[in-house]
Each structure stands twice: as structure tokens, then as C-alpha cells.
């Protein structure tokens, strides 16, 4: 099944929060003020809160059709992680595109789109949390970067680098959703994650004069 991609460039967020969704049990607070926690979710999953203003009739109609196509949360969608500000671009920011060799553009002014970051990973097993990476083009990785992998049977999922190790490996979260072969490309330019909406009935606000509305969606990672 080909998944829809959330059109972030048409519905720019004014608030965006990606967070790890974990399930913990507590053993209670001791008299000394200590508390022991146990985690029982096997690694956790992504959650996302996405809010965007709807300031035109076009964006209101787009948002309405988008929510409808998610069929109450039964149809997953690829939600982009906003990486323009955080991606490890060699020059610190994404460029607008690549021109022809003589510097010219297409007749409409557009340029060739190109991934500016090129990193691949060696083979890793299901649920691996350490990847051996091969950097071709990238800025410095410092931890906290988000990338995605298009898996063979489990669609695209996002991962966070939570540590960069001195031996050329990176620690990631969550655990890999599927084993990957050698040379798997890691998408740092436009990472996306397969998710479902969890608040379809409340995602879109009322339309108020002079015909404005807002989008406030909550997603969780899907399988």
C-alpha cells in the first residue's frame, strides 16, 4: 500500500512536538524520596503533536480532505519530521536545489531536487539500536539528529541518534522496526514516519470569522 505523505509544505506548523511514547510502572515513592521505575514497552514508539493555522479556504479544504483520508485513524500516513532546521547539512542549511551545469534553471525557475546528506548503514538486525554508518556527504553528527529508513516490508520509520560513538557507530532509538541490509540509505533530508492519527474527531477546529480555522493533530507510530 502506498502511503500518503502529510503535505507539510502546504500546512506549515506553528507548533510541532515529536516525543518518545513510553510505558512505565512505578514501585512507589520511598520515604527517602526515591522511586524506582520499570519500563515495559520493549523500546517505545514515536508520538507527534502537530498544530498548524488554516488561514485560507484552500488550506481548510486541504486539511479536511486529509483528515477524511485517514479514515478515523485506520489508514496510516507518513508524517515528516521538520528537518530543515536540524538536519546535518554540510553548509548548515538546506539549499534550494541544484542548477544545470551552466548555472541555469528549468523554464519555471525550479532546480533539480537533491538529497544534500548522504549516509548509509551496514546490515543490522531487527531491533538493533547501534548502527555502523558510512558518511559520504554530511555535516558533523552530534546526537539528536533524526533520520528515517524505508524498510522492505514495514514502510518508513523515523529514528533518533541518541549517541555518536568514537568507533564510527551511532546509537539510535527506537529499535529498528525491521532488519536492514548493507548499504541501506538513511534519509536525513526529509525523514518521515508511518503514523496514525489518534484524535480524528477533534483534529480540526471550528471555522470562525473571517473564515479561519486551525489544525491540531496527535499522531502515534503505526505498524
Amino acid at each position: 500500500m502506498t502511503l500518503d505523505v502529510f503535505p507539510q509544505e502546504l500546512l506549515w506548523p506553528n507548533s510541532l512536538r515529536w516525543f518518545p511514547s513510553r510505558v512505565t510502572d512505578s514501585g512507589g515513592m520511598t520515604e527517602g524520596g526515591l522511586e524506582r521505575l520499570a519500563v515495559k514497552d520493549g523500546g517505545g514508539k514515536w508520538g507527534c503533536e502537530y498544530a498548524a493555522p488554516l488561514l485560507t479556504v484552500e488550506t481548510i479544504k486541504l486539511a479536511r480532505s486529509l483528515i477524511s483520508r485517514m479514515r478515523g485513524g485506520s489508514v496510516p500516513i507518513l508524517v515528516p519530521f521538520y528537518n530543515a532546521a536540524e538536519g546535518p547539512y554540510p553548509l548548515g542549511a538546506p539549499s534550494d536545489g541544484v542548477p544545470f551545469s551552466d548555472g541555469s534553471s528549468f523554464s519555471d525557475g525550479s532546480l533539480f531536487a537533491a538529497d544534500l546528506i548522504s549516509i548509509s548503514a551496514a546490515a543490522a538486525a531487527l531491533r538493533a539500536t547501534t548502527l555502523t554508518i558510512d558518511i559520504t556527504v554530511s555535516g558533523d553528527l552530534i546526537g539528536g539528529e533524526v533520520f528515517s529508513i524505508v524498510h522492505t516490508t514495514r514502510d518508513e520509520h523515523a529514528y533518533l541518534i541518541d549517541a555518536v560513538n568514537e568507533d564510527g557507530t551511532v546509537d539510535i532509538w527506537p529499535p529498528l522496526r525491521e532488519a536492514i541490509p548493507d548499504g541501506t540509505p538513511l534519509n536525513f533530508d526529509t525523514p518521515k514516519c508511518k503514523m496514525i492519527i489518534t484524535n480524528p474527531s477533534d483534529a480540526m477546529g471550528a471555522v470562525t470569522p473571517p473564515y479561519l480555522s486551525s489544525l491540531s493533530m496527535t499522531f502515534r507510530e503505526a505498524w
Binding site: 520493549g42 523500546g43 514508539k45 532509538w173 527506537p174 525491521e178 505498524w223
Partner: protein
């Protein structure tokens, strides 16, 4: 051999429960997120791959059964997924009488399996049931431990209804109830 009560395992505050149902095509679920593959040397299910995609909804508390004790528990599954629904609706389902085994596994700080799977509670599946609470549909499997039948009441009245289940139309025990107040002294 590793023990569930190793003091080192007590420091691993990450764990999950696994459910293995030994139908012809085994059903494998766990309480974690996503998928997990067991080691190739697992004593029950080598290299089995378990799903944590929202199908297994509740694992009940189990007791340590000693001295001939028995118990019957309900394990709850999503009532909107195909496999649990087939247990209730498919007359060819082999779920009744299948063995369900519950295990627990510990994970380390990198979410990797750090212990063998302790398969701690085997039971026999009795009756699947489908229920709805508001807009939540669930399938419950009633699972009895090994000595459950032995724990039933010692004396059971044999009734005409019991006889009819295996000998439909046979009137031999039809008047059993009439003879109830009389005891025969031999």
C-alpha cells in the same frame, strides 16, 4: 541456568511479557512495541517472532501454583483484528484446547534481550468470547492451568442433559431426577 530470581536480573528494569499460542499456525504476541525475535536457542520457540502491534491488550496476573493448586484466567486481545476474531467466529479454528504459554523476558538499557525467556505459565485454552464495552471490542480467551480439572468438585451429578449431549434421543436417564429422593441400599 539463569533463574528468574537472579539478583542481577533484578537490576534490569525493562521487561515484557510474551504469549505463545500453540495453534497449527502459532500465534505470538508480546507487550512491547513492534516486533521482537527470540534467540535461536529459546527452549520453547527458537527464533520465534512476536508482534506488539496492539493485538494483545491485557495479560492478567498469574499465581504460582503449588501443592495441586489450579487457576483459570482471562487473557484479552483486540476484538477488531482478524486472528482473535477468527477464534470466535471460525468453526474450523483450533484455538480450543490449544496450549498457551506465558513468558517474561528482560531487556538491557539498549532494549536488547538480556535474559533467556522465562516461560513461567502454561495453560490450556478453553472458551473464546467476544465482548463490547462502549466502542471497545475485545476477545477474551479463558485459559486453565494443568490441574484445573482435578480442582473441580469431586462429586458431579449426572443429568439427562449430560447424557443427551453424547446420546441424543436416548431416554435412559430421563427419569433420573424422579429417583433422586430415594437412596438404594445395597
Amino acid at each position: 541456568m539463569a533463574s528468574l530470581y537472579d539478583t542481577t536480573l533484578g537490576e534490569l528494569h525493562r521487561f515484557a511479557a510474551l504469549i505463545h499460542i500453540a495453534t497449527a499456525t502459532p500465534c505470538r504476541y508480546w507487550t512491547g512495541d513492534g516486533y521482537i525475535a527470540l534467540p535461536g536457542d529459546d527452549e520453547l520457540d527458537p527464533s520465534g517472532q512476536y508482534e506488539g502491534i496492539g493485538v494483545l491488550t491485557e495479560v492478567p496476573a498469574f499465581r504460582q501454583l503449588v501443592g495441586g493448586a489450579a487457576e483459570q484466567v482471562n487473557v484479552t486481545f483486540s476484538g477488531v483484528d482478524t486472528i482473535p476474531k477468527s477464534w470466535v467466529h471460525d468453526p474450523m479454528s483450533d484455538i480450543v484446547g490449544a496450549i498457551m504459554t506465558v513468558g517474561i523476558v528482560f531487556l538491557d538499557e539498549r532494549e536488547q534481550i538480556a535474559s533467556p525467556v522465562f516461560w513461567i505459565w502454561p495453560g490450556t485454552i478453553d472458551v473464546p468470547s467476544l465482548s463490547r464495552n462502549g466502542n471497545v471490542k475485545s476477545v477474551a480467551l479463558t485459559v486453565g492451568s494443568e490441574l484445573l480439572d482435578r480442582a473441580r468438585a469431586a462429586l458431579v451429578m449426572w443429568t439427562n442433559a449430560d447424557h443427551q449431549t453424547t446420546h441424543s434421543g436416548d431416554r435412559f436417564f430421563e427419569r433420573t431426577a424422579i429417583n433422586n429422593p430415594f437412596s438404594e441400599k445395597w
